[in-house]
């Protein structure tokens, strides 16, 4: 019931916004998202899956007695964490677009709510078709958010975003359908239960089949993540999207890709994963370094942060494919942390853009002089993003890297990557410092530079107002809390991760034999 | 006249009968399609769609006769409805477009592009 509400309420609010007058739409959206957030908190408090392998928020609702599709919902702790991330970011996204959206406001917030419903649906679906429908449906609202409210190049960006990710997920669909078809061949009836399909795929597919299924799924999810060679839609989409769009895109939509990897790729085709992990690891690392270096020479600050997402998500994928508890924990944490810190960076850039109407670091800079509060937040979130210990980014990066490091033939701990992977990926830490500090050095510090035709915003003060601070403070609190008490999250998701890794028996057994801890 | 209102008894249609009507229908449809694809005059293109409607009408009625089920003919009534509605709207649009560009050439209207 709770799960259904979490999906249905945003839709309802969206409809309500669509039919109510323009002037109340943003208040409605704020009230709705806040309400849903409280609801998700309530759901989280009762959630039975924390720290265990149990599932919660179960809804079993077949569409009909004969239909193979169902409306089965439920969440393990990883999905729940991501649902919480979604519901947490949405009110902030609404609040962040309070004044930024001036035209067609009603549609904007309605689409935002639809987007929330789709994203929550992705995380909560236990039925493959439901998952896929929601997964694809996230594209539609996002497409409109970019195409209507984006900046100059929005038409191209939105189209590219849509077509690119859609093509990828069509390939994933082909993979899914193949698994479904093979299942039907085996058992004589179709089923789209994710659990059943995964259980079947682990044993029922030949090595070649599993390899192709892996490639198909990777095609879908890697584009979404985005992994190195298929990342080029992201900078464009991020740059052109409105602030809330960028935040949601970075905060949640990219996580759909990593969540897909976690939910489907790892449990479905372990044998193929073991075979292909080195390649995926290499792609992640190339992405980390390549995107990081590209960030370093950007002059558009939003593009910089967008490329940094490519770089950061490389760590996330690396941790995921480390296939050991540290890596997987780190990866899931990374999903949350990246959502918080990069989301906040996009908010900050949006706030700057609202005042100066430029994102070019050449024409605006030294803002610490006139916008001290903004600058404080900027530096704070940049540090969170750089991975300063004590803030959230560090923990996840550290765990991903140590996970990747510990694996490998010579390592003491299971997993398929190894020290060299981690060593090269760790260069990304230095590069991250290079480009993010370059950005801070240009736009926050230095002599004050403002665009020639700049004049004060008619509604907003020079520095942040209370509303904008209210957007950033929860994110900052999130960063600090996850930075100093990461066990909150790691304890919570430990069970699910153990469950996922139990499918990699040889690796874990090897670990058990090799573990030598002098306790 | 009485035949129109009262029952006429007929033997069952043979497959050859039905096939003839259907082939006629197919050919008419194809010719209409061909016209639609080759003609550039918007009005003639619409005429061609009407031709395709005619083909559909024949097929509907022929099948209805085959099954002795009159919903085929009922459907034709709906086709007529749609055709009438389409004629009203589409022709209004055509006139509008014609006013705008002063031509009936469909090739000048490429807004569907991209």
């Amino acid at each position: 019931m709770m799960a259904t509400l979490l999906i249905a309420l945003p839709l309802l609010v969206g409809v309500l916004i669509a039919v109510s007058p323009q002037r109340v739409s943003r208040s409605l959206a704020l009230a709705g998202t806040c309400g849903i957030f409280l609801l998700s908190i309530w759901a989280a408090v009762d959630f039975p899956g924390w720290g265990t392998t149990k599932w919660g928020l179960m809804v079993d609702a077949p569409w009909s007695d004969t239909s193979a599709f169902t409306f089965d919902l439920g969440a393990d702790s990883v999905a729940m964490v991501l649902v919480l991330l979604t519901t947490f970011l949405m009110p902030l996204a609404v609040l962040g677009s309070w004044t930024a959206v001036t035209t067609r406001r009603r549609e904007f917030f309605a689409w935002l709510m639809v987007l929330q419903a789709a994203m929550t649906g992705v995380f909560l679906a236990r039925d493959l078709v439901l998952f896929y429908v929601c997964f694809e449906f996230t594209l539609v609202p996002m497409y409109f958010l970019i195409a209507i409210y984006g900046s100059t190049n929005r038409a191209k960006a939105s189209l590219k975003f849509f077509v690119y990710t859609f093509t990828g997920s069509l390939l994933a669909l082909a993979g899914f359908l193949y698994v479904g078809w093979a299942y039907a061949q085996e058992y004589g009836a179709w089923s789209f239960s994710i659990e059943a399909l995964a259980a079947f795929a682990r044993t029922g597919l030949s090595a070649t089949e599993a390899g192709f299924v892996l490639l198909a799924l990777m095609a879908g999810f890697a584009v979404k993540v985005p992994l190195f060679p298929v990342h080029t839609w992201l900078p464009l989409a991020h740059t052109e999207a409105p602030t809330a769009g960028s935040v949601i895109l970075a905060g949640v939509l990219l996580k759909l890709g990593t969540y897909g990897l976690y939910r489907f790729v790892l449990p479905m085709v372990p044998a193929a994963v073991i075979e292909w992990t080195p390649l995926i690891g290499v792609l992640s690392i190339v992405g980390i370094i390549y995107a990081g270096l590209i960030c370093w020479v950007q002059s558009d600050v939003k593009k910089l942060v967008a490329y940094s997402s490519v770089s950061h998500l490389g760590f996330c994928v690396l941790g995921l494919f480390a296939l050991n508890p540290m890596g997987l924990q780190g990866s899931v944490l990374y999903m949350v942390n990246h959502g918080l810190s990069t989301g906040a960076l996009f908010f900050l850039i949006g706030m700057m853009y609202e005042r100066y109407h430029t994102r070019d670091m050449g024409s605006v800079g030294g803002l610490a002089k006139v916008m001290p509060v903004w600058s404080c937040f900027m530096v704070f979130f940049v540090l969170a993003s750089v991975g300063l210990p004590g803030l959230n980014g560090f923990i996840s990066e550290f765990l991903c890297l140590i996970g990747a490091f510990a694996g490998g033939a010579g390592g003491a701990y299971p997993g398929l990557l190894g020290p060299w992977y981690a060593a090269f990926a760790a260069i990304g830490m230095v590069i991250a410092a290079m480009y993010l500090l370059m950005m801070v050095g240009k736009i926050v510090f230095g002599q004050l530079r403002e665009p020639a035709d700049h004049h004060a915003h008619e509604l907003l003060p020079t520095d942040l107002n209370a509303r904008e601070i209210a957007v950033l403070v929860p994110l900052a609190i999130g960063c600090v809390v996850l930075g100093v008490a990461p066990w909150l999250a790691t304890d919570a998701i430990a069970g699910s991760i153990t469950e996922t890794l139990s499918l990699y028996p040889e690796a874990v057994n090897a670990a058990h034999d090799l573990m030598v801890v002098a306790r | 006249m009485s035949d129109l209102l009262h029952m006429t008894l007929a033997s069952a249609m043979t497959e050859a009968d039905l096939a003839r009507f259907l082939v006629l229908s197919s050919l008419l449809f194809a010719v209409g399609l061909c016209g639609f694809l080759t003609r550039r005059n918007l009005i003639v293109m619409f005429l061609c769609t009407e031709l395709m409607f005619q083909a559909a009408v024949i097929a509907f009625v022929a099948f209805g006769r085959w099954h002795w089920d009159f919903s085929g003919q009922v459907f034709v009534i709906f086709i007529l409805t749609i055709a009438a509605a389409e004629a009203a709207l589409a022709l209004a649009l055509v006139v509008l477009l014609h006013r705008r560009r002063n031509t009936l050439d469909a090739d000048t209207w490429t807004e569907l592009h991209e």
Binding site: W233, L293, F405, A494, M515 | D107, T110
Partner: protein, 713 residues
């Protein structure tokens, strides 16, 4: 487990399994105050900034809390019993799974080594914060808050670094101090040089951090733990050997070295430290001289057992040579600089080189002692430089200042600086004399590749040190009175209203701190004579209880290592004895040359330089020294420029090859194909209709052929 019950378990529940030697000090939670007080002060400073406080309140808060930290550290010291305590403070990273776990909590490992460090860190921190309360007064307001917040962050991070019981928390402190350094170097954020220097410091340190991170990973994979106490146990047990490759354990020292060389400004990563002088001077004194830069030495001392695992001590030999070379290089650069703060910076690099040399030649005790004395005398030097800078509107050029000791109000400054200089120059019976000798002598004692030569090189460097140190003092404090103002006119109370510049002598806070620290620098010689069972006095005592005890000569001898490390000799004498004379002599020579060139006949210095420059055979020498051996330029050309160009190339590849050709090209492929077949995609109604109808027709035919006629079956 529900969320609520999880929240209630926030207090550390599962204590690590106690290791036999180490006490579990559960009743010492108050030790956490050392961390929490600076944190509170940070928050308070933030609140002050928010309330637009324009008084000195942030300074008093900071000084108060740092003093609190110091007192807590004192209590810790007084309660300390060897060999050490683990104090759990807060649960942090704590993973567990079937068959294993990863644990790195915010816990303290209190042994003598960490106590030694935390005592001088918090003590000097308090004093320098007090000094800064006056020094920074021209920036009262948000800048003042920002400064003291930065100092608080630094003290927090440094305490975490020093007290950490595991490498991850140490890493937190390690990066934390780097960040604090970034914050404070970039304090004058409108100055492009300051911003660039801050960035440089952070990034260069990040390279070191990379090494530390990898070392942490390696420790974890090799030894299965990142906690010191367990680490030591594992190393002693030798169990690790069967689960790791040889290379992994062997690689740890090298990675740690990278980390230490980054943080402690050694070759090849020293370049950030001189630039870091863009920060306010108290920062230079606290972070870039006394405390933070010694973190590298602390790290190596802490991880000393890992270095000793390799029987050949290859890693340590490299440490020694890098330290020695850095010391020499920095000293030669320092000789030729005119900015007194830069000179001090290079001297810091040079002295840190000595400390590494000490670690390398197996005298952790000497290194620790030098850290300790250096903290005082270098702080004194920087603080006096700061006083000069403060009083003369940012003037730092030693050619434009003279005779300070004859001016009213500058006595304490001058003599504090003299004490600092004497210690730095290794003048007999000052603290620096004893600590430096402890290192130099050991270079002759220990056997290693060319350590004899290393020793002579270090001696030569000591002479250079004496020279450039006194060059500063003779120029600035001695000689006839003359001065020019700098160009930094912050605050107009000493402005040019009458067309004449009034220097602005330090007042109570600065004077008192300079005096205390100068006295401290002198007194720092005393621990050497505090006999406490081990030769080397109190410092040796403080190192003896720790992981670094292998590096105490006396301990080594006692442990019958004497056979392995047969005493070398210096001019036929026992180096320990000979060094008292030799190093004193070298110091005197350096001071004498400085006195000749910079006190009595200053014109000789100018003509000497001119003479060197006029001959093409020698002209490169002063030029290269003044331009810092072109190291920055070389780095720029070898690393940054190629990287910059490479990044642009990558960006181009990304935009053109990956995006335009591969992605957009693929997207256009179907359309191109379509165009090739027939103009179906020109967007007209006809084209779409043709495509649609043709597609449907084909589909119908294909389906029929397959299903009904079995054509393709």
């Amino acid at each position: 487990m529900s969320l609520l019950s999880m929240l209630s378990s926030s207090v550390l529940t599962a204590a690590p399994v106690p290791v036999a030697d180490v006490h579990q000090a559960f009743d010492m939670g108050w030790a956490g105050l050392i961390l929490w007080l600076p944190l509170l002060s940070l928050i308070a400073c933030g609140c002050c900034a928010m309330m637009r406080c324009t008084s000195k309140l942030p300074a008093w808060i900071t000084v108060g809390s740092l003093a609190g930290s110091f007192v807590t550290a004192m209590f810790l010291y007084l309660n300390y019993e060897p060999p050490g305590d683990v104090v759990n403070i807060v649960r942090w990273i704590d993973l567990s799974w079937v068959g294993g776990g990863f644990e790195a909590n915010i816990s303290f490992y209190i042994d003598s080594l960490s106590l030694l460090w935390i005592l001088f860190v918090t003590g000097l921190g308090t004093l320098i914060a007090f000094y800064a309360s006056e020094y920074m007064e021209t920036d009262l307001g948000s800048g003042y808050c920002r400064f003291f917040a930065g100092v608080s962050v630094f003290l927090f991070a440094m305490s975490a670094l020093v007290l950490a019981d595991n490498l991850v928390l140490l890493y937190l402190g390690w990066e934390g101090v780097g960040f604090a350094s970034y914050w404070l170097i970039g304090y004058y954020y409108t100055k492009p040089e300051a911003v660039a220097a801050a960035k440089k410091a952070f990034i260069v340190n990040r390279i070191g951090d990379l090494g530390l991170a990898l070392a942490v990973y390696l420790c974890w994979t090799s030894f299965g733990t990142v906690q010191y106490d367990e680490l030591v146990t594992v190393i002693e047990s030798g169990d690790y050997a069967r689960m790791t490759d040889d290379w992994s354990v062997a690689a740890i020292p090298w990675l740690l070295m990278l980390a230490a060389f980054g943080k402690s400004a050694q070759l090849p990563l020293y370049v950030w430290l001189p630039d870091a002088m863009e920060g306010p001077t108290p920062v230079s004194a606290l972070i870039h001289a006394a405390t933070m830069v010694t973190a590298g030495i602390y790290l190596l001392a802490r991880m000393y057992p890992v270095f000793l695992l390799d029987g050949d001590h290859t890693a340590l030999h490299v440490v020694a040579w890098v330290g020695g070379l850095t010391a020499l290089l920095a000293a030669t650069i320092g000789m030729a600089q005119y900015d007194i703060k830069r000179i001090m910076a290079y001297s810091t690099v040079s002295q840190l080189g000595y400390m590494f040399m000490g670690l390398g030649v197996l005298t952790t005790y000497g290194a620790a002692y030098h850290v300790f004395t250096h903290a005082f005398f270098k702080a004194a030097l920087f603080l006096t430089c700061g006083a000069v800078m403060h009083g003369f509107a940012g003037q730092l050029d030693l050619r434009k200042l003279s005779g300070l000791r004859h001016m009213k109000g500058w006595k304490i400054t001058s003599y504090a600086m003299l004490i600092g200089c004497l210690c730095l120059a290794g003048f007999p019976f000052t603290s620096g004399y004893f600590s430096k000798d402890a290192i130099l002598a050991e270079a002759f004692v220990t056997h290693g590749p060319g350590f004899q030569w290393l020793g002579f090189m270090a001696l030569f460097t000591a002479g250079l040190t004496a020279y450039y140190t006194f060059r500063v003092w003779f120029r600035v404090c001695a000689g006839p009175v003359s001065y020019e103002a700098g160009d930094d006119h912050h605050g107009d109370d000493h402005g040019h209203d009458d067309g004449h510049f009034h220097p602005h002598a330090p007042r109570f806070a600065m004077n008192s701190v300079m005096a205390i620290i100068a006295i401290g620098a002198l007194v720092a010689a005393v621990p050497y004579f505090m006999d406490s069972g081990v030769k080397g006095g109190w410092i040796a005592d403080m190192v003896n209880d720790s992981t670094a005890s292998e590096g105490i000569p006396a301990v080594r001898a006692a442990a019958d290592h004497a056979a392995d490390h047969a005493h070398g000799s210096l001019f036929g004498y026992d180096p320990h004895v000979a060094m008292y004379w030799v190093s004193g002599g070298v110091g005197f020579i350096g001071i004498a040359i400085a006195a000749w060139l910079h006190l009595f006949r200053r014109e000789d210095a100018v003509s000497l330089r001119r003479a060197l420059l006029s001959r093409s055979a020698t002209a490169w020498l002063p030029r290269a020294m003044e331009r810092k051996w072109y190291v920055d330029e070389i780095y720029h050309a070898l690393i940054r420029a190629p990287l910059w160009v490479g990044s642009h190339v990558l960006h181009g590849i990304d935009r053109i090859l990956v995006d335009m050709v591969l992605v957009d090209g693929t997207a256009k492929l179907p359309r191109l194909l379509g165009r090739w077949v027939q103009p179906l995609t020109n967007g007209t109604v006809h084209a779409s209709a043709t495509a649609m109808a043709g597609g449907v027709a084909l589909l119908v035919i294909v389906v029929l052929l397959i299903l009904h006629l079995g054509v393709f079956a």
